[in-house]
């Protein structure tokens, strides 16, 4: 029953360690997105521009190099306690001043990019078919219309699973993450004034699913 064990293991991993990088220039949108994602037990990092998103991804890359020297054989939870947690999904607004969501998508999916395999979801308040196909052609995983709702997050479940499982495995079942008893809220925010400084709150180390209390993180948006 290896597949069953892998699946349960993945579910456990997902509830604990799913890290989304949310990119939107609107404070209100970031707050909404953060809340929606937290509802799905995701750790969320919010940034207000495409440039900041790239900076953050680069920062994680350099941390990974640093940590892998010390923690190469450690489990993900140890890496996370050390403050490093790679991004599993990028959700970006399409219309942003400066670098657009489309520009960000192109950069992430570029030939030779170390972030090529991170799924990118593009969001927009405008339903423009040519825009949608442009993004999908460039490698976007999904295109969501704003304002986002809880039901849209359900659409993302397969993508959440996909990036945690070995690429050759195919898991198409969707999960129900409506349970309240193991939410982890962990929010990291980059503000304009912070440059690339990251303020992080540590996620509590994982406990067996049935006994995990609700952990409330502070919301800093």
């Amino acid at each position: 029953m290896e597949l069953h064990r892998d699946f349960a293991d993945t579910q456990q991993k997902q509830k604990q360690h799913f890290h989304v990088l949310a990119v939107d220039d609107s404070l209100i949108e970031r707050k909404l997105l953060e809340r929606l994602l937290a509802e799905s037990s995701c750790k969320v990092t919010c940034v207000d521009s495409g440039d900041k998103a790239l900076e953050y991804l680069s920062l994680l890359d350099s941390q990974e190099i640093e940590y892998s020297a010390d923690l190469s054989s450690s489990p993900p939870s140890a890496q996370e306690e050390a403050g490093y947690m790679k991004v599993n999904l990028i959700m970006t607004d399409y219309s942003m001043p400066g670098m657009s969501g489309y520009d960000l998508l192109k950069r992430v999916k570029m030939q030779g990019s170390s972030w090529k395999d991170i799924p990118v979801v593009v969001m927009s308040s405008e339903n423009v078919p040519s825009r949608i196909s442009m993004c999908m052609e460039e490698g976007a995983e999904e295109f969501l219309l704003k304002p986002l709702q809880l039901s849209d997050l359900k659409k993302l479940q397969p993508h959440l699973l996909k990036s945690l499982v070995h690429p050759t495995e195919d898991i198409s079942t969707s999960n129900d993450h409506g349970s309240d008893d193991n939410k982890i809220h962990d929010i990291t925010t980059l503000n304009d004034s912070d440059n690339v400084l990251v303020s992080e709150r540590k996620v509590m180390s994982p406990e067996p699913l049935e006994r995990r209390p609700k952990i409330n993180g502070l919301l800093v948006v």
């Binding site: 609107s26 949108e29 909404l32 509802e39």
Partner: protein, 151 residues
């Protein structure tokens, strides 16, 4: 406890009227659904951000439309933001004016834009009053020891 029941009924009726009159739409329901014991002030927080953001945008719009040579792309950018934020909290009537506003921007129609600015200011202040009344009612209910009706 009768007082609380009265207040709760008042709140439910008030919210229903806001939907009926088009001030709020389904998106506001979404916000309410995201409020729970771990996020007890979520709606107030988001709406407060909306108020702050709107005041800023209205100022920017007024400034941009006062210029001798109007930069319609700038005006449109502000309206686009306003449309986005109002849509995110379910401020339906404000959003509708923003849509018309953007059309005038595209046409570079100064008069149309000025008219829309007045309209959007008006709709914004209406929905602001309504929401503040709503939050007041909620506060009264909580203060009287009651709980907010489920959405």
């Amino acid at each position: 406890m009768d007082g609380v029941v009265q207040l709760q009924k008042q709140l439910v009726d008030y919210i229903a009227s806001l939907f009926h009159e088009g001030f709020l739409d389904e998106q506001f329901n979404q916000l309410q659904q995201l409020q729970d014991e771990s996020n007890p002030d979520f709606v107030v927080e988001v709406v407060s951000l909306f108020f702050e953001d709107s005041e800023r945008l209205l100022n920017e719009l007024a400034k941009a439309l006062e210029q001798k040579t109007i930069d319609f792309r700038k005006v449109d950018a502000h309206v686009h933001q306003f449309k986005g934020s109002s849509s995110s909290i379910g401020a339906h009537r404000v959003q509708k004016v923003c849509i018309a506003f953007r059309n005038y921007c595209e046409e570079q129609n100064v008069e149309g834009c000025l008219k829309c600015l007045q309209q959007v200011k008006h709709e914004y202040s209406l929905v602001r009053n309504k929401l503040e009344t709503l939050f007041q009612l909620e506060k009264q209910i909580i203060a009287a020891g009651g709980s907010l009706p489920a959405t």
